[in-house]
Symmetry: D2
Amino acid sequence: MSADPSDRRIPVAVLGATGSVGQRFVSLLADHPWFRLAELTASERSAGKTYRDATAWHQETPMPDAVRDMTVLPTDPEGQPLTSTLLFSALDASAADRVEMPFTRAGHYVCSNARSHRMDSDVPLMVPEVNPDHLALLDAQDFGGGRLMTNPNCSTIGLTLALKPLAAAFGIEAVSVVTLQAASGAGIPGVPSLSLIDNIVPHIGGEEEKLERETQKILGTAAASAIEPAQFVVSATCTRVPVIDGHTLCVSVRLDTMADFDEVIAQLQGFTGEPQALGLPSAPAAPLVFHDAPDRPQPRLDRGAGSGMAASVGRLRTCRLLDYKFVALSHNTLRGAAGGSILVAELALAQGRLPGLHIPQ
Amino acid sequence: MSADPSDRRIPVAVLGATGSVGQRFVSLLADHPWFRLAELTASERSAGKTYRDATAWHQETPMPDAVRDMTVLPTDPEGQPLTSTLLFSALDASAADRVEMPFTRAGHYVCSNARSHRMDSDVPLMVPEVNPDHLALLDAQDFGGGRLMTNPNCSTIGLTLALKPLAAAFGIEAVSVVTLQAASGAGIPGVPSLSLIDNIVPHIGGEEEKLERETQKILGTAAASAIEPAQFVVSATCTRVPVIDGHTLCVSVRLDTMADFDEVIAQLQGFTGEPQALGLPSAPAAPLVFHDAPDRPQPRLDRGAGSGMAASVGRLRTCRLLDYKFVALSHNTLRGAAGGSILVAELALAQGRLPGLHIPQ
Amino acid sequence: MSADPSDRRIPVAVLGATGSVGQRFVSLLADHPWFRLAELTASERSAGKTYRDATAWHQETPMPDAVRDMTVLPTDPEGQPLTSTLLFSALDASAADRVEMPFTRAGHYVCSNARSHRMDSDVPLMVPEVNPDHLALLDAQDFGGGRLMTNPNCSTIGLTLALKPLAAAFGIEAVSVVTLQAASGAGIPGVPSLSLIDNIVPHIGGEEEKLERETQKILGTAAASAIEPAQFVVSATCTRVPVIDGHTLCVSVRLDTMADFDEVIAQLQGFTGEPQALGLPSAPAAPLVFHDAPDRPQPRLDRGAGSGMAASVGRLRTCRLLDYKFVALSHNTLRGAAGGSILVAELALAQGRLPGLHIPQ
Amino acid sequence: MSADPSDRRIPVAVLGATGSVGQRFVSLLADHPWFRLAELTASERSAGKTYRDATAWHQETPMPDAVRDMTVLPTDPEGQPLTSTLLFSALDASAADRVEMPFTRAGHYVCSNARSHRMDSDVPLMVPEVNPDHLALLDAQDFGGGRLMTNPNCSTIGLTLALKPLAAAFGIEAVSVVTLQAASGAGIPGVPSLSLIDNIVPHIGGEEEKLERETQKILGTAAASAIEPAQFVVSATCTRVPVIDGHTLCVSVRLDTMADFDEVIAQLQGFTGEPQALGLPSAPAAPLVFHDAPDRPQPRLDRGAGSGMAASVGRLRTCRLLDYKFVALSHNTLRGAAGGSILVAELALAQGRLPGLHIPQ
């Protein structure tokens, strides 16, 4: 954030930096080896204040010193141009609807955590270990020089990470998933405490449809200028439980080619991806942590795996209805939001798909 | 509990009366119109004490006055005969293994909440609205004049209540269920608080197998002297969540005969059973409460339906994988344990299957 | 609620009937022996709808049948006169500021749960077992024939109930109190779940001042046309904890006249009040339940004492700093809000202070 | 843990390494710059197993690689001598009663987290920023060459850290404290979840006495060979709340010399101690973090301050009864247990009070 001339890192901006996901971006970018947090935007109401004054900081680590006195800019592609080429969007969907495409058309490279453009045919929806080839869509984008890439809904990431090695080795025919999602997924103020003390809420508006469709896109096939979604059926039920961070997924899967138990474990344990091969800064050592213990993964104990960037899988067993059942878990505000988005930018940079930007030496 | 000679109610005993389920039996039997709580048993350690002294009462209603000074008896079919013919067993499985059959062979009618004899071929496993005809097994029992009947595991009751109208109208081909179960299902001390603050535990030992097998028996067909289990597949995943009472079940079902949405709702809303027809004292007005609201049922708001004896069903929608999905909920320590067991005894009495006992006039 | 001509009960209205406290009023008044729920008001937005359509009912018991189809009226003393003389106000403070005095001046008898007029010198602030004589202020009110009476903040009620017998027997010189307050005290949506999962919030805006001042008024002395507040010091700290209902108070007290342990217990156990003497319908058998067990009272186990209308006291022990320490607990939305307000109306009626209204025979 | 000859760090052992506090010691010592984790002991039952097999690891970070295959030794000062001179005791009180003194008399330097010897007149009870001079007691110990030092109960540490600057600047006359303590303070399995869902427990056996007495010893005066306890009165009430880690304390204090608000803030904000001056590895930058925000400190947001080694103070305001009130918070299993104990050892080493041991260069 300093203008230290010896700092060769790429300047970046966070759009919507004062909210819940925005704060996570700020925390993760504070010491990033490739990116330098140069600009912060928020709503009109916060613009002009220092970040410290504009933000009700509620992270468990302190606000990074370097951002405390930065001036918050308005999120306004017309009125307030940004000097950073690379933008991370922590905007909610209604703001993202308005500004992400204008920023892109103005030549920015936008990594968005919002749902607004995830299902657009020319926008890649990325989980870097799962579909790194989908980033090729960026080259075909016709947005006036800008690029727009997205990461999926927080519950989709854990599911696709767990399914990918099975899809690659055996093919997938059908998936049934019931989620137990953390309260932080609903942001601030989010779910009232009266709904989550001695209670669960078996409904999250729109979540099931997102989980079903995004999974099919991410596990789909990259064609010339679009993604052919995977053809397998996904049926999702989404619930909210009294957990701060960490979405748990109870998954059943039918494989195209039946595999025995040891083969399935071997694929889950051996899974690795392009982020690991490239040594991306935010990539966990392994994208999946496999558990033998019968009662794992659990949100409080396992959401932190790989600094919150690895998913965990356990309770693998045969299913009387489909073929196999397991429990997957991932951190919804790290891997499932800000961290996942940063990993997408790292991958795009490493693949050389962001013209003019290079990994700092 | 008085020896009031004008009290024509049937004297009953509760086995294991000081534990969690035992306390529920005591609460529910305190003012029962047909049964008079006459004897209480517990472990050797508690025998001889007053119920007040022997019991760490943790119900949300006060200990009934009439039991406070009753002397706790040992649970010992040889050493301590009981004068009540009808016994309610709140014993854990290891104690039930030892004493339920001896009590039965000594001529008692035992209504058990324990898992010990649920899957015995000559013992009915009862959800009174679902399989009232299975009680005919009692007539064929060869236990020396005694009778032994059971109610299922707390998670099975809500599932079978919700499935019964669908099975009856359309037939069932397959069921997938993920449970979010309350902490009280694990008894006292049960699950440590460190496991259920900011956490869920995606595993309950032995529960999935019980839920799968018991459902098939309860929805099976009564043959001459045994039950032919239902042939449909049940695949279960069981998790523990930070809820005091009320098990939530996320269910997907494939029907034998496809039915449209309105037909399914009509069956769920119109469901009623023999306990309702007979007006049994513990029967709720309707065994199922159907919810239109998109976020119901919820444990804290709906577990009390029908004084905790009705199950709730909501979020009915089509399933991309099977045919329909819904969320069911029932109170695990009322309908799912003590209350369910009392309802079984009421049904057996009303069906005239407990020789020598009659509904008090 | 019917217009059954044989129903001799007094028609009453609930102001602000769709909110959290309003729902409690509706539940409690549904079967009241003296009052008949005749009118319901809410904000302009809800007016004209049926109560069922206007209300997001979230009580643990179902919405009473009789109110489901009642039409909600606007809360508008000028535009919409009410036919009921007796009004229960569940309004929040800003609405109460606007309409309670106009309704009173229009001749209504208003029992308010809002804070707006609690500290007015000519308005009684009532805990019926504690200061029944303060209702005499009603006779001196100069509000054009109407009457206005209030009940205190939810945390004040438990404190004053516990202090009253000590004040009466020994006098009180100083009180230190730390509260652990339930989430329902903040209404709906109230406290975000992220603030009360694995967390407590050691601050409730304005609560400490209310608890300190209201306690002094309630334990004060009724003079001609005002209340002389008690002279003892109260120092309060208020915190919010992850509990649905039930405020816990850790209290230390210095007495004017030192008393030994048994005398203190005797006063707490023997405490009774005018509501008990008069047999008011909402009065618990005893206003205080005293606990010997070292770990009681606890919110979940004890808030329901006396149908939620009795406070509980336990852990009595000497204090190294003041004289005695104890833990008190009361139900904040029953005794601490709607139920407390109804008890005030019952007392006023029984004392004959509501001209024209009489206890139905 | 390697026997790498270039590793100049001091070998240490953890007694009771498999339990909850023991796991924290293992985590904190895995990368310690001065200490090398060389030996692990546990009960007879675990001895001979690898640490991995003997331990139900439930920390939120993974088990350190270096300890996974270490063999667990029995905790047996006679039968199993330890080669490490410096021992950290995570034993519960009954085991500590038996073995800490024998280990000490065998020449070991024992840093104990157990309560067994805290109040012994010749054993220092240490909070390094508060009473560093009390370590001089070590020089006078007559335990055959060994040394025994202790850290206090988890709730005492936050209280004494907050009181120390006030005691030093103004003197303290009286303290009233109510605690809201985290579940982890009760260890594993600890408090049942049924006690901490929608509930708090206003009682922790023996805790109030410990908090009162230990505070007086720690803030007392070091005399020749004993500590003269502070003369001010402490009155404590201890409660358990549904929080994983982080004890919150609501404190009122009467000063010897009245100070104005700004002076009090200045003392709290400016507080620093010998561990900071010496730059001890486990010392936080500042022992107290002062909060202006009206709703801080909160356990989930603030327990991690200074890597869990700093206490937080906020809500400073005048008290109507004593002089000032505030809320203090500290991490009960880091600063309040393992981390606090390690800091004591670091201080003893830096003060040169552990003959034969030196800070590695």
